[in-house]
């Protein structure tokens, strides 16, 4: 069971929901936690894992042999990302633009291009109590998060429960995080901003044909427009986390609130049961429709 916690809007509570859900399940199931927000992984603050493994993430980038290169420019013509280009008697490589597809080396008529490793980040793993913890870290200054996320997701054990904390927004890194998930749990706030960005997330998740549900965080602020939207779209609201000062104080100290506040571990276990039910139900509905 692969559950990705996502949100169109930053700061809605993805990490709060992901870490508390993972901790609630950790004693009951084999749980892996993945922080896919590789530009800014922060679940470590709440889960406090003991890290015992680190590995580099490399992307293949072209290296041009100036002795062999005839400056024909075919590599640059082939490159969709302008990562390689010929100017006069120079073929230049721009590693930070390269997506590592290797097309330039394939089209080179004189085999002047070899592919070499370019480190763009790293993966780390360890244990946090009963949890298996994993995160990805994109090196500062490197622009491409997606290859790190896809490498991170290779660690998913399909037989266990995996909880993925997605980056915010709806761009490539989010889609990469959601891809292959059994369920998308979208966290939002009951405000106009929350609703606007929730709609963007819902569009992406529907496009990916992943069953989905909503968690309303800071319930009690704003108004009922998120609720009305979910009702009209038939999207289940699976949990409401109140706008509560104690929760905010625990958050500010890096303490997962289920560890301190009575009844919440049980509520997150119920949330998981609802997710399992909804995942199955929505999958079946889709089959009936098609």
């Amino acid at each position: 069971m692969q559950i990705t916690i996502s949100a169109g809007k930053g700061g809605t509570g993805k990490t709060t929901v992901a870490t508390n859900l993972a901790l609630a399940l950790a004693g009951e199931y084999d749980v892996q936690f993945f922080d896919c927000d590789v530009e800014e992984p922060d679940s470590e603050i709440f889960l406090r894992p003991e890290l015992d493994n680190e590995e580099p993430v490399n992307l293949k980038v072209p290296e041009v042999n100036d002795e062999t290169c005839t400056y024909c420019g075919q590599c640059g013509d082939a490159c969709e990302f302008n990562a390689i280009a010929t100017f006069g008697e120079n073929t230049l490589v721009y590693p930070e633009l390269c997506h590592g597809c290797g097309l330039c080396s394939l089209v080179c008529p004189v085999d002047a291009i070899t592919e070499v490793d370019n480190k763009i980040g790293k993966l780390r793993s360890g244990r946090a109590g009963n949890l298996e913890y994993h995160d990805g870290n994109l090196t500062i200054g490197e622009p491409m998060a997606t290859p790190i996320i896809s490498r991170l997701k290779k660690k998913i054990d399909p037989d266990g429960v995996s909880i993925l904390d997605s980056p915010p927004g709806t761009a490539c890194p989010v889609i990469e995080s959601l891809h292959g998930s059994d369920f998308a749990l979208l966290v939002t706030e009951p405000t106009l901003f929350g609703l606007h960005d929730l709609k963007l997330s819902v569009d992406v998740v529907k496009e990916l044909e992943i069953p989905l549900g909503v968690v309303i965080n800071r319930d009690g602020i704003g108004d009922d427009r998120v609720e009305r939207y979910c009702d009209s779209e038939g999207i289940p609201i699976l949990m409401r986390i109140p706008d509560d000062r104690d929760i905010a104080v625990y958050y500010s100290k890096g303490v997962p609130f289920i560890e301190k506040m009575d009844g919440w571990k049980e509520r997150f276990l119920e949330l998981f049961e609802e997710i399992e039910g909804q995942a199955e139900y929505q999958k079946r509905q889709k089959l009936i429709e098609t």
Binding site: F81, N82, A83, L92, L97
Partner: protein, 123 residues
């Protein structure tokens, strides 16, 4: 001799576009005869590498110099390799830039003058 000026429009009276890789047009002009043509910048909305792609367009048009507002590191490296002179800090109209070029009021740039983009924002 031909030079390229980054421009907001297709005429000599158009304003200079301060951006290189994502400018609207390149006005390719002979600074003596003032014969010119404008080419639309196909790299304007490139996801990434607009500077490199624009440099290819400009170098391919056979100019010996570029006049613009700022040039990023990727475009600078590309234009330098192509042997194209780069003049930055231009403002006003395309005609103003040509006059400044003819009067020797522009100085050659020896490095990139802006950090350069990270492509279009994807978040």
């Amino acid at each position: 001799m031909k030079i390229a000026i980054t421009s907001l429009g297709e005429e000599l009276s158009s304003g200079v576009d301060g951006r290189f890789g994502r400018c609207d047009y390149f006005v390719i002009v002979d600074p003596e005869s003032l014969d010119y043509e404008a080419i639309s910048n196909g790299s304007k909305n490139a996801v990434g590498g607009a500077g490199v792609e624009a440099a290819q367009t400009v170098a391919g048009s056979g100019v010996s110099a570029v006049i613009t507002g700022n040039v990023g590191p990727n475009a600078y490296r590309a234009l330098s390799s192509a042997g194209v002179d780069i003049y930055t800090g231009a403002s006003g109209t395309v005609q103003d830039a040509i006059d400044d070029f003819n009067d020797d009021n522009l100085s050659l740039t020896q490095s990139s003058t802006t950090r350069g983009g990270r492509g279009k924002r994807r978040r």
